[in-house]
Amino acid sequence: MDAETLNSSLEGAIYIPFDDSSQEEEEANDALWCSIPSRDLHEGPVLRLAEYDKAWTKCYARVQDIIHEFQVTLASELIDFVVNSHLADEEAMPPFQEIPAAAVIGDPTSRALIFDVVQARFDMSNDHDNAAPVLSCQLTNKSCTNLTTAVRSLVSGFIDKTSDDGTQMNLDPPKRHKGATNLLPYDLELLCAWYADVKEQHEQSPNLLVFFQDLESMDSTIIQDLIYICSLHISRIPLIFIFGLSVSADYLHASLPFSVLSVLDIEHFQIPGGMPLFESLISRVFLDPTYHPGLMLSPAVFELLLGSYTSQTASLNSFLSTLQLCYMYHFSLPLSVFADNNLLGTRNARSAIKLLSRPDSEAFSKHLCAETWPHIQDKQDLPPSMSWSAQVSQAHALVKQSKSVFFDHCHKFRIGFRVFLEMRTFLKENGYNVHDLSRKFPTLVALGLRGGLHVREVQNQLEFARKLTLAQSQILLIRIYEFLSTPDVGIVEEEILASIEGWMDNLTEITETTGSGIPSGASTPAQDGSTHQRGSQRSVSGTPNPAESASNFQLVQLKELIWNTFDTWFASHLKSFDELPLSPIWLLRASKATATLLNPSLHFTIVSALIRPQPILDCACCTDPQNSLADLPDTSVLFHRYLNSGKMINLYDWYESFAMGLEGESRGGSVNLGSRPHHSDAESDHDAGNDPLRTPRKPKKVIPRTPKKKIRSGSDRDRDGSGSEGEDEYGPEWKREVQARFLRSIHEMNLLGFLKQTGRKKDHVLRTVFDLLE
């Protein structure tokens, strides 16, 4: 695990636990953090942690399943690619044998997963249905530092497998004569000899599979030689390569010469990722009618997910961590304790209410009541003076029922959204592929979660739906019907199903009465019959017959009816979650903090901390606003000087200004040397701490812009170094302390990367940070 991997956000995170036993209970408290501690239950954190655990594990499992499905398909493709290579092929018989190779493209983590799946498949399989078993070995960039090691690790990768573990076809180890000259471990002849032996011992010729974990990190010159060498023996050892690439297969073309490419026969395998993965995750975790995650996305969370996925890291890990953070934040809110049930971890409702009406949880209960109050129906017949416990129990009851309300709506929303998408796809298939339908999935989801979908998108679609021909609308209805009549959807949707059935009958009878009147491409056999006879009718009477026009009118009526019903249906299904009672409990929410947690700006934080250390180290002394420079920690004093100095800083001038910055405090009490200064001299502020002239004057004195000025400053430096008794009165030990503190702060800043030594001038340093915004 070198610096690269540590830095890449594609890698999984590494957690180095802080092992200091004294800190443990603090950590526990930190873990059970509450956003609003004032109005929390007493044992709220523990309960909420349990809730969070339940909810998150559920969600996580779901995500894992989806990912697994994604990968299994690809892995199986890979597997039968590997198994079927090196078989005779009618397609094309090149005049020379190539090395079959698969370029697997995707981010490293998912690649590694898939490779493991494939390899596991072949490792455990000494008795599966394949034509030939497959032996495999892995090559990483560590094993390919030079050509010798590369070939050695390739050869040994196979040979050791057979010699040691019994899982695969194993050979009896060779008996070497002492002092004999053998083939070298980095000679491919050895592999050939070994393979010949394998063949004759097991009467079957296994393919040899070589994984190149990630090709980008390997030295291309070595790789190309390695591939070339392998190509010399391909007729004797059926090698198969699998290259792991992160962006595109173009890397192969960019890094390998054509002479090497021409001995390969490359197939591309793209690991599903990017937007499709994201969409399927969202739609199958949160918008799948057949699955209920227990919480619902809020628009904010969705946009957070979307943003971090599309613009920062499009990896599964980042998606998961973002989602998890949102969960965490959500369960840091007091009310979320009700997310699963309203029992508050007690056995039954009564005890829960008892717990609520305990004095120590009064704040919480008040909060709860305040939340529930607006949603309580028939307030007037409540007794005006209602006992506290009664209110609590009422609120408590309301939690339960509003939960069922919320979940029902979630279900309906999912169904509605699905139907919406169904219609959309159908319309697009039937050529209504116009601008109004051009919105992409993410925007639709965002709209839908806001409840804004019904405003415009649904209307557009319904407009188009009204324009549909008879046959088309039949097909569409059938589709919707089929979707809605799936078991776990059907239960909530009887009435619409019933009405659809009704409409279908009407439509069919319309088709029977009038056929060709409706401009429909698709024609049912019934239609044909009718057109035929009515063709003869029309021949006798040229005028359009009334039945037809009537049926047309009827049809239009019917369509109006249908789509208006759907309009109301959508309106009820797709409305937003916010106005639901107590929705904050189940509506997953995010805060700005989450985003910054995910993607902090270290630099900015450090600088701002140095400029205004008070909020960071919140000790009593530093919090008061009008304290002066001298009370800041040394480093930040130094940093202030740094900020208003020039591009180059003369260390001595810097030191002087720093020393002057500390004068006041030293006047106050130079008694306590060494100890952390400004805590102690918090009280010494008023007498000397705020000398108004000090801060403004310093910069002009400090900044040596031109050499000439520097000389001057140098001169007057040693003048007041000698002449002025300003420092003599403090005594040498004070000087020494100042020097020590100066040096320490300088080193701190150096560590933080604010200083840059110049080669030319030893006593000067360069600034690295400029034009900072205060």
Binding site: D219, S220, T221, A254, S255, P257, F258, S259
Partner: protein, 613 residues
């Protein structure tokens, strides 16, 4: 000029087959009749053309070569064995030949058929045909048949074999080299018979036959009958193989062991080691002398080897190839020890003599030696000069070519030798041939090079073209002297040529280092310019058709692979393929000729148009 005109009637037997043979492609035939006035500044184009032509001719001849080898060989047998065969000899041939055309893949059906006619069907009457042609030739002995009668095929084979043998070991018959050999001989004799310690330096230019001189001296010694006591131990070292003194010492030890069987001076424990190895290979004994050599490298004794040299039962002769490189070894320790041993071994003190022969090409070799080494070196220097007169050179060539063949006696062989000599005389009468030899001589006085030049034409001889021609000479001289680094530029594909032109333009615009991007950019611009002018030329290369970038890139890589473009910097993985900097190696006129001969009109136009700019 008179001699030429007089020669012409006799010549007609000679060069006319050339005409007929080359008649396939026009270009060389131009260069064929007038190579005489093709002076030293004969442009590379003609050379390339000539070489290509002769190579093509060679191919076609070789196609039918095996055929003739076949029945030639067993006809040869017939001559020796029984008169009954010839009747039989003709009959099997038709049955045998069908596989032949498939084996010796003649490219087109056309030449195959033609060879065919030459080879077989008219063989019966080809029999009388030469007889009629040779009977006069017996009197006038000028007329050479254009295709060899089958009866003479064995002689042609024999002749080729003999000449190739001779070329492999050219004689050192120049007086100077004989003198050198003589000196070496007496020096060695002194060492062997009187046990002297001798050291000398064999000095001579490359390819002048220093090593051969040494070998001849040694072999002459071997021929003179010495007892097993006196038979010298010869140790050959080469600074090219023995890169440092340690290796050299070990090699000395090994060679000593190999020649003295069990080395007398190795202390017994080493023999034990040898015995440890011995039982392993007890079954096959031919390794017996060898086995100790692997037991030998007991580091303890390596340094003492030199000292023990003089104590050996037999005199030792140590030959140091590329002596000058030995001087570069650390502290010249090996040289010091050897020369010291040489100096220390006194004649007549019973110790057997040592001779150290250093072979080098460096004239200033002695100056490389440190003082202590130099002081121990007897400054005896044997010079092996290269043939320093054109006459010797030509004479050598001629003697090589007229090497006598083995089977003598029969009238046929006499006739053959006469005809062959005739052809050789004609050859050396020809100006081209003279010029080739002269040029070769002027470039390097290297006999080896001469031999290599002579080899190819001999190889190309077939019964259908049995006589050496000047053209073959010229072409093989071209190839063997590598006058042009890239003889095949004209055969490059269209994209490659385009890239060459682009590179040329870039260099003429002042960019010596080129990247693929530059070339491709120039090419695509030229294409778009030429899109305006569309010229319809029949045959290849109508207009500058654009080529896809990837194809260009691959063509570029091909040029890089054949070192037409050479990278200016060491390869680094950081630089992307299309930005690696290269230098275009071929000169302007090479490119020019290539373009002109390749026959892509638009490319030529592009080339020239820029030339004017």
């Amino acid at each position: 000029m008179p001699p030429k005109r007089r020669a012409s009637p006799t010549m007609q037997g000679g060069p006319t087959p050339v005409k007929r043979r080359i008649a396939v492609d026009k270009t060389p035939t131009k260069s064929m009749p007038k190579p005489a006035n093709g002076v030293v500044s004969a442009s590379a184009s003609k050379k390339v053309a000539a070489s290509a032509a002769s190579i093509r001719a060679a191919r076609r001849k070789l196609a039918s070569l095996e055929v003739h080898d076949r029945d030639a060989s067993d006809d040869g047998l017939n001559v020796v064995k029984s008169p009954a065969r010839p009747a039989a000899a003709t009959t099997p041939t038709p049955t045998r030949h069908p596989p032949v055309p498939r084996k010796a893949a003649p490219p087109k059906p056309v030449p195959r058929a033609e060879d065919y006619v030459q080879a077989y069907p008219d063989e019966p009457e080809a029999q009388p045909a030469p007889s009629t042609s040779t009977n006069p030739s017996v009197q006038s002995s000028v007329l050479l048949p254009r295709t060899l009668p089958s009866t003479l095929h064995p002689f042609l084979q024999a002749q080729r074999r003999a000449i190739l043998r001779a070329l492999a070991h050219p004689p050192l018959h120049s007086p100077e080299s004989q003198k050198a050999i003589g000196q070496l001989q007496e020096l060695l004799v002194g060492t062997i018979e009187r046990g002297e310690g001798n050291s000398c330096l064999v000095l001579g230019p490359k390819g002048s036959g220093k090593s051969r001189a040494v070998e001849e001296a040694l072999s002459s010694l071997a021929s003179t009958s010495y007892g097993p006591k006196q038979l010298p131990i010869v140790i050959r070292l080469s600074a090219n193989a023995q890169l440092n003194d340690k290796l050299a010492m070990r090699e000395i030890g090994r060679q000593l062991v190999r020649q003295t069987g069990s080395c007398g001076f190795i202390v017994p424990d080493d023999d034990e080691e040898a015995e440890v190895e011995a039982p392993v290979q007890a079954e096959d004994e031919e390794d017996e002398p060898v086995a100790p050599s692997f037991a030998l490298p007991s580091q303890a004794h390596i340094p003492t080897l030199i000292a023990t040299l003089s104590t050996l039962p037999r005199p030792a002769i140590i030959i140091l190839e590329s002596f000058d490189l030995f001087a570069t070894h650390a502290r010249q320790a090996l040289l010091y020890c050897l020369l010291d041993a040489v100096q220390s071994c006194r004649a007549g003190t019973g110790t057997s003599g040592i001779a150290v022969l250093g072979v080098t090409t460096r004239v200033d070799c002695l100056n490389l030696l440190e003082k202590r080494v130099k002081s121990r070196f007897s400054h005896r220097i044997v010079r092996v000069p290269a043939p320093n007169a054109l006459s010797d050179f030509t004479a050598l060539a001629k003697t090589l070519l007229t090497t006598p063949i083995e089977q003598k006696g029969s009238a046929q062989s006499a006739k053959w030798t006469r005809m062959w000599g005739e052809s050789i005389d004609k050859l050396f009468a020809d100006r081209t041939c003279i010029k080739v030899i002269k040029e070769t001589f002027e470039v390097v006085k290297d006999v080896g090079l001469l031999c290599r030049i002579l080899t190819t034409p001999i190889l190309d001889l077939t019964p259908t073209s049995p006589w050496l021609t000047p053209a073959q000479f010229a072409s093989s001289a071209e190839t063997q002297r590598c006058t042009s680094k890239f003889p095949f530029l004209r055969d490059l594909s269209y994209p490659c040529l385009a890239l060459l032109i682009a590179a040329h333009h870039a260099s003429s615009a002042g960019h010596e280092t080129i990247t693929f991007e530059m070339l491709h950019d120039a090419f695509s611009r030229a294409v778009s310019e030429s899109a305006g002018i569309n010229v319809s030329v029949d045959g290849a290369g109508v207009g500058m058709h654009r080529v896809k970038r990837e194809v260009m890139l691959r063509s570029f890589e091909q040029l890089v692979a054949s070192h037409v473009f050479q990278p200016t910097a060491a390869h680094s993985a950081v630089v992307a393929k299309q930005y690696v900097k290269y230098r275009c190696v071929p000169e302007r006129d090479e490119i020019k000729n290539a373009i002109e001969r390749a026959g892509y009109t638009m490319l030529k136009r592009w080339f020239t148009r820029w030339g004017q700019k």
